[in-house]
């Protein structure tokens, strides 16, 4: 049935967990694209048919006209499904920049199409250029500060000699605990390399 595959594509976005990406369904996506081309072939055939009969394509309302109309509307509907699939995924990607930062972990990267990876890079770059133009890093300070310093535990080997904003160099060995400025720690917490110790 016309349009069913496009609908499945949209359902994948609509029924998925909010703000969660499903793997890019290139199989279904290509099938919908192919369906579009098929509609177009049949649409043109019907119009040619009308022209051969010497009918005015704009005004005559015979069976070919309505057949062509169905193909046109199905094509337009598929286009809406395809673009909204990409558009909504792009929106989730943009939100990921705010939550995870410009470097995506491998398990998310695997779910993206080639173009989505490109888009993610480009959009991160334009955010970055905005921030450098206003000379303010908006990726830190995501939660209201209660205390300028927080207690954190290092979850992964981050490495030695990382220089913090007060120009001291720190050794973040795995499982070590530190009292850091919130703005320094946030970027590591976002990437899952540290956790905040509360209570």
């Amino acid at each position: 049935m016309y349009g069913r595959k496009g609908c499945q594509l949209v359902k994948e976005i609509a029924s998925g967990e909010k703000e969660q990406l499903t793997p890019f369904n290139s199989d279904l996506f290509d099938q919908v694209i192919a369906e579009c081309s098929q509609h177009y072939v049949e649409l043109q055939a019907l119009i040619r048919n009308m022209q051969e009969k010497g009918l005015d394509v704009q005004t005559s309302k015979n069976e070919d006209h309505f057949g062509a109309l169905i193909h046109h509307l199905s094509l337009v509907r598929n286009k809406r499904c395809l673009t909204s699939y990409m558009y909504n995924r792009a929106e989730i990607l943009r939100n990921l920049i705010w939550k995870v930062g410009p470097v995506l972990p491998q398990e998310i990267l695997e779910k993206l199409s080639h173009f989505e990876k490109e888009y993610f890079k480009k959009h991160s770059a334009s955010l970055k250029s905005y921030m450098s133009r206003i000379d303010l890093d908006l990726a830190v300070d995501m939660v209201p500060p209660k205390d300028p310093y927080i207690q954190v535990r290092v979850l992964d080997d981050i490495g030695e000699g990382i220089v913090l904003s007060d120009e001291k160099s720190v050794n973040f060995a795995r499982h070590s605990m530190h009292l850091l400025k919130r703005t320094d720690a946030e970027q590591f917490i976002a990437r899952g390399l540290m956790e905040e110790l509360t209570g």
């Binding site: 177009y40 094509l75 929106e91 206003i134 500060p145």
Partner: protein, 193 residues
């Protein structure tokens, strides 16, 4: 609209105030005093960042709509305009590469569904019919809650009894559709919550 008059005092003395915190540290001022200053500074910076961040996220959400609506586009700061333009170009290219270039000729526009669409019908707009919680400081009478424009087109609309004009008392919370009160919000007569 960017409230630059409010922003400037917060934004630009950043360096000078940070200077004072450093001076306190070197001058051996009481650590408690320093930490209070530091907290105040952090709080202000958080507010500034949140403000700019939320604006950017709104731009991201409806970039095509903002870019083609002059009234909205002119509310952006110079830097935001550059960002909005660039984001739009990137997303447009992304959609073209992934979808539009693979569709038949007459169906490749990003703004229109097909070549025969007379107006722009592919751009997602913000939903203005949502209900919002709001409050006013002054008494406001005669607020028309029905949309005047399209009411007459629909016959059923005429049969439905017209709602009485809506009144708002000061400092009472109301739950209404955003669209009819949009203008009053922009004029600063109604505050949203």
């Amino acid at each position: 609209m960017v409230r630059s008059k409010l922003l400037i005092p917060v934004w630009f003395p950043r360096n000078s105030r940070e200077g004072t915190v450093d001076e306190f540290v070197e001058g051996g001022t009481d650590p408690l005093t320093i930490s209070l200053y530091q907290m105040d500074l952090d709080r202000t910076q958080f507010l500034l960042r949140s403000y700019l961040r939320i604006r950017l996220q709104k731009i991201e959400k409806h970039m095509f709509h903002i870019l083609k609506t002059d009234e909205l586009f002119n509310r952006l700061s110079k830097e935001e305009k550059v960002f909005a333009q660039r984001s739009c170009d990137d997303l447009k290219m992304h959609l073209e590469d992934s979808v539009l270039s693979r569709l038949p000729d007459n169906y490749q526009s990003i703004l229109k569904q097909s070549i025969i669409s007379e107006e722009i019908d592919m751009v997602p707009k913000p939903q203005l019919d949502m209900f919002v919680v709001c409050k006013t400081k002054y008494y406001l009478g005669h607020i028309q809650l029905e949309d005047g424009d399209d009411g007459n087109l629909d016959d059923r609309g005429n049969q439905r009894p017209l709602e009485e004009p809506f009144e708002m008392e000061p400092n009472v919370l109301y739950f209404v559709r955003y669209k009819p009160i949009k203008k009053l919000v922009e004029e600063g007569k109604i505050d949203l919550y």
